[in-house]
Amino acid sequence: MLSAMIAGAQWVDFPTPGVPRLADGKPNLTAPAPKTADGKPDLSGVWTTKAGYIGNIARDLKPGELSFQPWASELYKHRVETQGKEDPQAYCVLSGVPREHVVPYPFKILNSPGMIVILYEALHSYRQIFMDGRKLPKDPNPTWMGYSVGHWEGDTLVVNSSGFVDNNWLDNSGHPGTEAMKLTERFHRRDYGHIDLAITIDDPKAYTKPWTVNLEFNATPDTDLIEYVCDENEKDLKHLVGK
């Protein structure tokens, strides 16, 4: 939130080209979703996630839908009780996937031949989703963003990912993710202004069964990402003391 306070200079307010507009010039967010030259839905643009999920990505799940393995339950309890003191993000390590989907900062989706790129304002990071038909690697180098391949099923972009680090936090409360985690994300641009995203988390090391969360992204036209550098003039860390 600091960035709002230090913005003394000009905000990024260049009008986004190609946005359908109402008579008063405002973006028409219920206009049909745009398509790329090959007829697929075009997900490109600046987006902001629907607020409320950064604290607990699983907040909408019914009892029993999320079932921890015993050690993961203990770890989650510990992370909540220590108020996120060990959260890697507090140390300016990036959020990773799927946490980036619930972080309340804008991100930008880009199409390029054979690849979709997502640029994140928060902590300044990016993610590549390969669309060139390659398979997931068998033994990828573990990373925060994982390794992602996507394909289209009708108008839905289906992205499969694996190769994640072993100490993942899926949200601020610390739902754990491990190296065994496999993600399936289904992106559907419902209209110009909205993407519905269903994420299925299949991590048998941490959870007894897969679970799914449903999120929504809102189009954020006529602006752009600004620079976010976590470890510059960082003052929070010494105040993270747990209880």
Binding site: A7, Q10, V12, P17, L123, N141
Partner: protein, 267 residues
């Protein structure tokens, strides 16, 4: 001055790689009969006929190995001194010459790079970690392995903003002049280092890059820095980038398990 000290943070990553390397073959690369990339062929073009700068790019290995042997990563001359090829060196203003001298005498302890801060667009060309250019209609993006940084270059015809929010990467717009992508950038913040010597860039700095893909495997970049606050005249250097085929960017996070900071001490 040991280069190992300068790059201690950079080199660690090589030791940590245990799983599969990223070795998926790059699409669309011309190959010789034995399957090796043919990097001397013509530069590829996008659908609109412009040269396509897309690809993963490495620094030119133009610095002889130190007496102790080569480092894991090749550090180009420009990483140490961006003006190494200029007769007489960079045209520093007196205060800038003094601060470079001070930064070097202090073993570069205040180098933003060593403190895991962004390095800005000039050092992003000279840092020995890969970068990937992604060229899309209206926007060219450069993704950097280091710190998962990225940079946007707007090619949709917009002008540079008059009073941009100062940032490490600045604000960049590009347009094609023939087969050369000409990028104008401003909006930098004070405190940026252009090389390990600590050559400064200030808020008044403007940078012009003229990028040409001279063949499939080579980018030539003519970089002009016009920063009257720090330099007595604009100066231009040439940088070369070489295509890396059949690989991809890895995760590199300077702040994760960072152990160097306490060991950075001035003399």
């Amino acid at each position: 001055m040991s280069v190992n000290k300068i790059t201690a943070g950079l080199i660690l990553v090589a030791g940590m790689v245990s799983a599969q390397w990223v070795n998926y073959p790059s699409a669309g690369i011309p190959r010789t009969k034995d399957g090796k990339p043919n990097l001397s062929g013509p530069a590829p073009r996008t659908k609109d006929g412009k040269p396509d700068l897309t690809g993963i790019w490495d620094v030119l290995h133009n610095r002889p190995c130190p007496p102790g042997g080569c480092d894991d990563m090749f550090i180009p001359q420009e990483f140490l001194n961006i003006g190494w090829s200029l007769k007489g060196g960079l045209p520093y203003q007196p205060w800038a010459a003094a601060i470079v001298k001070q930064r070097m005498s202090e073993n570069r302890v205040t180098d933003p790079n060593a403190h895991c801060l962004p390095t800005g667009i000039v050092r992003m060309y000279t840092t020995p970690l890969y970068r990937k250019i992604v060229q899309t209609p209206g926007l060219v993006v450069i993704l950097y392995e280091r710190e998962a940084m990225y940079r946007q270059i707007f090619t949709d015809g917009r002008p540079l903003p008059e009073d941009p929010q100062p940032s490490w990467v600045g604000y960049s717009t590009g347009k094609w002049e023939g087969d050369t992508l000409v990028i104008q950038s401003s909006g930098f913040r004070d405190g940026i280092w252009l090389d390990s010597n600590g050559s400064p860039l200030t808020e008044s700095g403007k940078i012009t890059e003229r990028i040409r893909r001279v063949n499939f495997g080579t980018l030539e970049i003519e970089l002009t820095v016009n920063d009257p606050k720090a330099y007595t005249s604009p100066w231009t250097v040439k940088l070369t980038q070489l295509l890396k085929a059949d690989t991809d960017l890895l995760d590199y996070y300077c702040v994760e398990n960072e152990k160097d900071g306490p060991h950075l001490v001035a003399k």
